[in-house]
Amino acid sequence: MQQFAALLRKDSRPVRYLVVDDSVFARKNIIKMIEMFGGEVAGEAGDGLTAIAEYNRTTPDIVLMDITMPQMEGIEAVERIVRQHAEARIVMVSSVGYQENILAALQKGAKHFVQKPVKPEVLYEILRYVLSDDPSAAGAPVALAGEHRS
C-alpha cells in the first residue's frame, strides 16, 4: 500500500473532511484514502441537502462531493454552500467527468475535480494543491517535505 506524508493544517492538526456521496461503498473508499493522508472525517452525507446541513454543523476544511445524488445534486449543493461560505474548499469526485459537468461545478465554486475510480496519488496531489491555495487556517500543508512514495 502506498504511503503518503500527512496533509496537515497550519496548526498541525489533521485536515477535517466532509465526504458526500450517495454510495456508502464510495464513501468508505474515500474515507480510507483520507486516513492514508492523515486526515480526519468531520462528517458524511448521502445527498446535497444533508451535505449543506453537515457543512454548517462541522465546518470542515475540505468537502469531497459527488455530483449525481438523490434529493439535491452535488453541483447545486456546491452553489449553496459557497453562497453561504465563500471560503469553502470543495473538490468534486464523480465518475461522470465530461466538460459541461466540470465547468458547471467550477463555475459554482468548486476548487477542483477528480474522476472515479479515484487514484490515491491523484487525490493526494489535488488536496495538496487545494490546501496550499488558501493562506488561512487550514492553508498550506506542513508535512509536505516528503513526497508520497510507493
Binding site: S23, N29, T68, S95, G97, E100
Partner: protein
C-alpha cells in the same frame, strides 16, 4: 451493432477494473447476443436515452463483488448481499460515468438512468430490441460480464447524416 458506441463502454470497464484492482485485466470472451440476458450473478442494469439509446448490464457473481469490495477496502469485508449489491452498483456507476464522459465530449446528448439491481432469475430485458454484445473480462477477483446494446436514435442519426459539414 455500432462499435463506435460500444467501444467506450468496453474501454471504460477494462480501465475501471484495472485501476480499481491495481492489476491487469483481460477481455477473454466477446460475443453477440440477441436473447434476453440471463444474469450470472448480481446484475446492474443502466438505461441510456437520448440521441443515443440502449442499455448496459454489469454482472458479477456475489463472491466476485465481495472480493472487489475487500480489495478496495484494503481488508476483508463482512459478507452481505447488501454490500455485494452496493459494490456492483458503484462499479456500474464508474464504468458508465467514464464511458459517457467520452461520448458526451463527442457531442452526444443523452440521459443516464441510475442503476437498477437485479437478483431474480428472470431474464433481463434492457428495453431495446437492439442486439447486444456480451463481454467477459477476467480480473484478479474473477470474471465480470458486460452486456451492451447501443444504437443511434433514428431521427437524430438522420439529422446527423444530412447535416452540412463545415471544414
Amino acid at each position: 451493432m455500432r462499435m463506435e458506441l460500444i467501444q467506450p463502454f468496453i474501454n471504460a470497464a477494462d480501465a475501471v477494473f484495472a485501476e480499481s484492482l491495481q492489476a491487469p485485466t483481460k477481455i477473454v470472451d466477446l460475443a453477440m447476443d440477441e436473447e434476453t440476458y440471463r444474469r450470472k450473478g448480481i446484475a446492474a442494469l443502466i438505461l441510456i436515452k437520448g440521441e443515443i439509446e440502449g442499455h448496459v448490464i454489469l454482472d458479477l457473481a456475489p463472491e466476485v463483488a465481495l472480493k472487489v469490495a475487500s480489495h478496495l477496502a484494503g481488508s476483508a469485508v463482512v459478507e452481505s448481499e447488501q454490500l455485494a449489491r452496493e459494490t456492483v452498483c458503484e462499479l456500474a456507476n464508474m464504468v458508465i460515468g467514464n464511458s459517457v464522459t467520452l461520448l458526451n465530449d463527442q457531442g452526444f446528448r443523452f440521459k443516464v438512468f441510475p442503476p437498477e439491481i437485479h437478483v431474480n432469475d428472470q431474464g433481463l430485458s434492457g428495453g431495446t430490441d437492439t442486439e447486444a454484445m456480451v463481454i467477459c473480462i477476467e480480473t484478479p477477483c474473477g470474471q465480470v460480464y458486460l452486456n451492451i446494446a447501443m444504437h443511434y436514435l433514428h431521427r437524430r442519426r438522420q439529422e446527423r447524416e444530412t447535416a452540412p459539414t463545415v471544414d
